[in-house]
């Protein structure tokens, strides 16, 4: 059972602002879904899949890629071929 407080905390972790008036509905849907997920408690101990996987490696060779101009084309604020982001601190 999670509370509105918990959902608010998760939303903060996920960087999603949830309106106060929507918290109640989110919380009740959350609990409804988590209750369904409880069926996973019946999974007997077993192993996670380890399919026949091999690492795929290659030499780090420079190949043609996007131009700086194309990479910046969708950004709204650029400066000297770089993308401006909000301040972190």
């Amino acid at each position: 059972m999670v509370l509105e407080n918990d959902v608010e905390g998760i939303a903060k972790l996920a960087d999603i602002h949830i309106q106060k008036e929507e918290l109640g509905e989110f919380t009740s849907q959350f609990n409804h879904i988590l209750e369904y997920f409880d069926i996973l408690d019946t999974v007997s101990d077993g192993e996670e899949g380890k399919a026949d996987l091999v690492n795929v490696l290659r030499e780090d060779v420079v190949t043609p890629s996007l131009t700086q101009e194309a990479a910046c084309a969708n950004a709204h604020e650029t400066e000297d071929g770089h993308i401006r982001a909000p301040r972190v601190m």
């Binding site: 998760i10 989110f26 849907q29 409804h32 997920f37 996973l40 101990d45 969708n74 909000p86």
Partner: protein
Amino acid sequence: MVKEYFFEKTDRTNAFITRLGLAMYEETGGPLEGKGIAVKDNISTAGIPTTCGSRILAGYVPPFDAHVVTRLREAGAAIVGKTNMDEFGMGTTTENSAFGPTTNPHDASRVPGGSSGGSAAAVGDGMVDMALGSDTGGSIRCPAAFCGIVGLKPTFGRVSRYGLIAYSNSLEQIGPLGRTVTDVNTLMSVIAGPDPRDTTAYDRPYTHTPSGEIAGMKIAVPEEFFGEGVDPAVAESVRNAIGKLEDAGAETMTCSIPSMAYALAAYYVTCTSEASSNLSRFDGVRFGPSVETKRSWHDEFRDHRGTLFGKEVQRRILLGTFALSAGYYGKYYAKAQVARENVRKDFLRIFKDADIIAGPTMPQIAFKLGEKSDPLSMYLADILTVPANLAGVPAISVPCGTVDKMPVGLQLIGRHFEEERVVDAAFAYEMEVA
């Protein structure tokens, strides 16, 4: 030589987010030369806006083509537009789109299925012969079933995901939709094959001509696919269809998939966890509507995502964040991975004796618009399609009659990298009822 393709068909179902009235194609001598093809709007197309059905990607124009789009162009296809979808592929009805719902071509009061609902409706309504979709937990097969067309989810790794905007990358595959098995087969032959830019893409090209010769093919029918929650009329249609495969020479047997008890929960824990990580890239800095760079990162980021992501996307990111958080990882994510392995083992066990597993694609016919308003009841509709994604095996949906004048889909699931056999079984059914 570059030629013009005029695409002037009326869009009665809101199948397209972006349409090109004039699409260009090259005379390449390829198998799709001069054919109009629609592409789901989570597959990158250079120069054509790509939104994933979300406001958070409004105005985004990819600077590159997805691998499958390059293959379409090389095959001579004219890409006529980008189709509507549940935002980021999160939904079973195409109602979770920022561009409004797509409707079912057979009944405008019903959904087309999802999340590739626009692609299925465009094919089902005759706007195009073929379209590309993507299938994370049934998103090609469900709308194919609801719209009365054919849709194939390939084996995980048979088609490159380069340029597919990621939602849940251990589960999703790009695949073909078409009105006939032959069209789906043709489109599959164009998109399959290796791509160094997707390290999960195998070097397994697809060159197959469908054959209806299925004498001796062994078909297993899981009891769980006809259990609680499956509409008896849908179940009867599908059992009749399996009877037609017997008429064509197939041998049937019953089987059981005990892991179906928790497969849906394992699926939703896995896909929401992966989504919570994948969708962190939508921060308004490099693409989509801009953020205010003078505010602090987290304040701006939070408001941006709180405003521009739809409710279902927010719900899934939150669920995934929760499932991966300290103290809950063992209870949810780790258990889901064990459950997933059990699903895979169930399939491998059945495929020792059987070539194909057959059952309904969806437990019901297409829902009425607005019918599934509760998130969990919407999730439960995916119960018959998610097992193939968890196991990574190929699965096709082929139309098999109607209930209340709405199409029903027969699902045929095969061994890893045996799309050819799945296609043959579907083709045999199509020939048998032709």
